[in-house]
């Protein structure tokens, strides 16, 4: 039996306000606790919130209490034994990182705080699981081939740490690909497949552009096809970090070197730097993906051994730009305000 108090399943019915229900329940609650799992970006992907909720469901089974999911995307366990609630809150903190720890209220002591939080909340139904759209999967190739090259590509300047122009990167535009894949765009593997397919389709033109210019010229490169040879240094094929896990990247790098090309690995975020040795990646350039966590200890420590000239930062905001300047790292793309 589910302990989740889902709201009305039919969209036509008015959602029930949470505060009156809690207020009615509170006089019966003594020596118990409530745990709130807030709405946070890390849980928006896929079923992550649903998975995190299993910790609260287990707590409710063991320590009692009722679960509520709110329309604003939060989950509340109310009325559980304090020790069980504490364990659930600690589990959520480990799952999500301590900075995003769940809120714990003791009842009746913290009832006012609980009610203040609940005032604007309404109980909501768990969103329905979308059924797999098989026809969309089957049509993938046709949908990808219909994407116009002009829309699929974005050009970005490459700047040195001193702000001097070093060249240009042409990359695939994720938003355009996601639009072409919808509703399958939440599947990262299909997105990666789409990038691979587009990079392969556009290789003749992009390869020619990168082979013939001057300065740094970064273009997306498919896993198994080769661009034209070049005598002009600065042609760089960009591949995703995920390709490192598939066989043959080191061999591809050697073949590219024979054609006058270098290789760059893109999409290296703080989470990857926490567990990888960047120097062991088979690439000439590493494209780091900016986020606030990049400035934290683990990521900076991982980068210490890498010559800054081999690094470029993508997606930087003003903070990212400062961080890059301090470390002597160049930037790709316009700097977001």
């Amino acid at each position: 039996m589910s302990v989740m108090r889902d709201g009305p399943a039919s969209p036509g019915r008015k959602p029930a306000a949470l505060a009156p229900e809690l207020r009615a329940m509170l006089p019966r609650l003594s020596g118990v606790a409530a745990v709130l799992l807030p709405e946070i970006p890390a849980l928006r992907l896929g079923r992550r919130r649903r998975l995190a909720e299993t910790l609260l469901e287990d707590a409710a089974r063991i320590g009692g209490g009722a679960l509520y999911r709110t329309g604003s995307g939060q989950t509340l366990l109310c009325g559980a034994a304090p020790a069980v609630a504490e364990r659930a809150a600690a589990g959520l903190a480990r799952l999500l990182g301590t900075a995003l720890a769940a809120t714990l209220w003791r009842l009746p002591e913290d009832a006012a705080e609980l009610l203040a939080w609940a005032a604007p909340e309404a109980v909501a139904a768990r969103p329905a699981e979308p059924a797999t759209d098989w026809s969309a999967v089957a049509e993938l190739t046709a949908r990808l081939d219909a994407v116009q090259a002009e829309r699929a590509l974005k050009a970005e300047p490459i700047l040195g740490p001193d702000g001097a122009g070093l060249g240009r990167r042409i990359r695939l535009d994720r938003a355009t690909l996601a639009e072409a894949l919808a509703p399958l765009d939440r599947d990262r593997d299909l997105l990666a497949h789409a990038e691979e397919r587009l990079a392969s389709r556009l290789l003749p033109g992009l390869g020619a552009w990168a082979a013939a210019g001057a300065g740094l010229r970064l273009v997306p490169l498919p896993a198994r096809r080769l661009p034209p040879a070049t005598q002009s240094p600065g042609a760089v094929g960009v591949v995703p970090l995920g390709l490192v896990g598939q066989a043959g990247l080191a061999a591809q790098r050697a073949r590219l070197a024979g054609l006058g090309w270098q290789i760059a690995i893109a999409g290296i975020g703080a989470a990857a730097l926490g567990v990888l040795r960047p120097l062991a990646l088979p690439a000439d350039l590493l494209l780091l993906r900016w986020s606030g966590e990049m400035a934290e200890r683990a990521a900076v420590a991982a980068l210490r051994a890498v010559p800054p000239a081999r690094l470029l930062l993508t997606g930087a905001d003003a903070e990212g730009r400062d961080w890059a300047r301090r470390l002597g790292i160049g930037l790709v793309g316009e700097v977001a305000a």
Binding site: A42, R47, R48, L51, T54, L55, G91, R94, L95, L96, T132, W134, S135, V137, A138, L140, T141, D145, A149, A152, L153, A155, R168, I170, R188, D189, L190, A192, H193, R197, S200, R201, L202, L203, P204, G205, A208, W209, A211, A212, P222, A223, P228, P240, L241, G242, V244, G245, Q246, A247, A250, G269, A271, A272, G274, V275, L276, R277, A280, L281
Partner: protein, 371 residues
């Protein structure tokens, strides 16, 4: 005049032509009309017709071509043909005024100038695309994927499940059973379902297919009657599979004790493909009380992991002749290592030399069957 409608594809086609001409040493003449410098009113109407007429003789030879760049510039390229191009240049310079500039260029000599014209035309905010070309995708594409996923929904994978014991072997000591590793026999599954299609031709689609198969496997393992009597097991699951509804159901039928006796191995390949998602899956397994293992596909992946990457988890490492060369990269606490593919006594001997005591392989299966 359809030929002068700016087409982005032209810019890269021109870049392509320049490169080929340089590579082959083929002589070409080019006339670059910088129409982008003209006042907008001069780019249309009768001016366009004048340009068209002036260029007509230039474009008559078979291998002549007109390129419309994204910024409105035109580049006519043709084999060397004496006076025609110079004549056109003179006429157009007069008609359009000096500001427009009609530059006469020769390939391969002026390749750099022509390429920089292409670069200028593309500018930032304009996109150099390319010719549409069919990509060889082998026999395994999205259509095959959709069909297989649908087929897997109702298929029973029980006959494709392989079980092999993981044993603790101390030099000179008794062999102790640690857990039973359950995994899908992909070669057999492929032969039965794929009808010759090779998922390696599209690795990203193969990853999605793996999740579909694991979803089905977990659904079977979640049958309560089956789960109740299960001893300690090991499963290799894609990190993404843990976000499937099937994992939630599998997790729900296990007691806390059973979870603690279940080893879930996550492929390092997933860490590379989506480090954040991998981190979430791993944290989830730890919090739910499972034993976590990192599954390495090849010894070379050892070098990719930082010293902090393993934490308290296990490391599944497959024996290969390349492994001894990477021995220095083994985690310092060797009790965290499970050496798989231990099919010969020599492999176990090497493991012992390294301080490894957990093994999986044909030899252990035989040992266990003999008990």
């Amino acid at each position: 005049m359809s030929g002068t409608t700016p087409r982005h594809g032209d810019a890269l086609a021109l870049a392509h032509l320049v490169r080929d001409a340089v590579a082959a040493g083929a002589e070409r003449e080019a006339l670059h009309l910088r129409l982008s410098r003209l006042a907008p009113q001069l780019r249309f109407g009768h001016h366009q017709r004048l340009v068209e007429e002036a260029l007509a003789p230039v474009l008559r030879p078979a291998r002549s071509r007109l390129f419309s760049l994204p910024n409105g510039d035109l580049v006519a390229v043709s084999p060397p043909q004496g006076e025609h191009l110079q004549e056109a240049q003179r006429v157009l310079s007069t008609l359009l005024g000096g500001g427009a500039g009609a530059a006469l260029l020769a390939l391969p000599r002026d390749a750099v100038a022509l390429m920089s014209a292409v670069e200028d035309a593309l500018g930032l905010g304009a996109w150099p695309p390319a010719s549409v070309e069919a990509m060889p995708e082998g026999f395994f594409g999205p259509e095959a994927l959709a069909g297989l996923e649908r087929a897997l929904q109702g298929a029973s994978l029980a006959c494709f499940l392989r079980r092999s014991p993981v044993c603790r072997l101390d030099p000179g000591g008794e062999a102790g059973f640690a857990w039973e590793e359950w995994r899908l026999a992909w070669p057999e599954l492929r032969a039965a379902l794929f009808d010759g299609a090779d998922p390696a031709a599209a690795p990203w689609l193969a990853r999605r297919l793996r999740r579909a198969a694991e979803r089905r496997l977990l659904a079977e393992l979640a049958a309560p009657a089956e789960a109740r009597h299960r001893g300690p097991i090991g499963l290799s699951l894609a990190a993404g599979t843990l976000e499937e509804e099937a994992f939630l159901r599998f997790d729900a039928v296990l007691s806390a004790g059973q979870r603690a006796r279940t080893v879930v191995a996550l492929p390092v390949e997933d860490l590379l493909a989506d480090a954040e998602g991998f981190g979430f899956a791993r944290a989830l397994l730890r919090v739910r009380g499972y034993r976590v293992a990192l599954d390495l596909a090849e010894p070379a992946q050892l070098a990719l992991l930082s010293a902090e990457a393993l934490g308290e988890d296990l490391l599944r490492l497959r024996w290969s002749p390349a492994l001894p060369a990477e021995a220095a990269l083994l985690p310092p606490r060797r009790e965290q290592v499970v050496l798989t593919g231990a099919d010969r006594a020599a492999v176990i001997g090497w493991g012992w030399e390294q301080g490894i005591t957990l093994f999986e392989g044909r030899l252990l299966t035989l040992l266990r069957e003999g008990e």
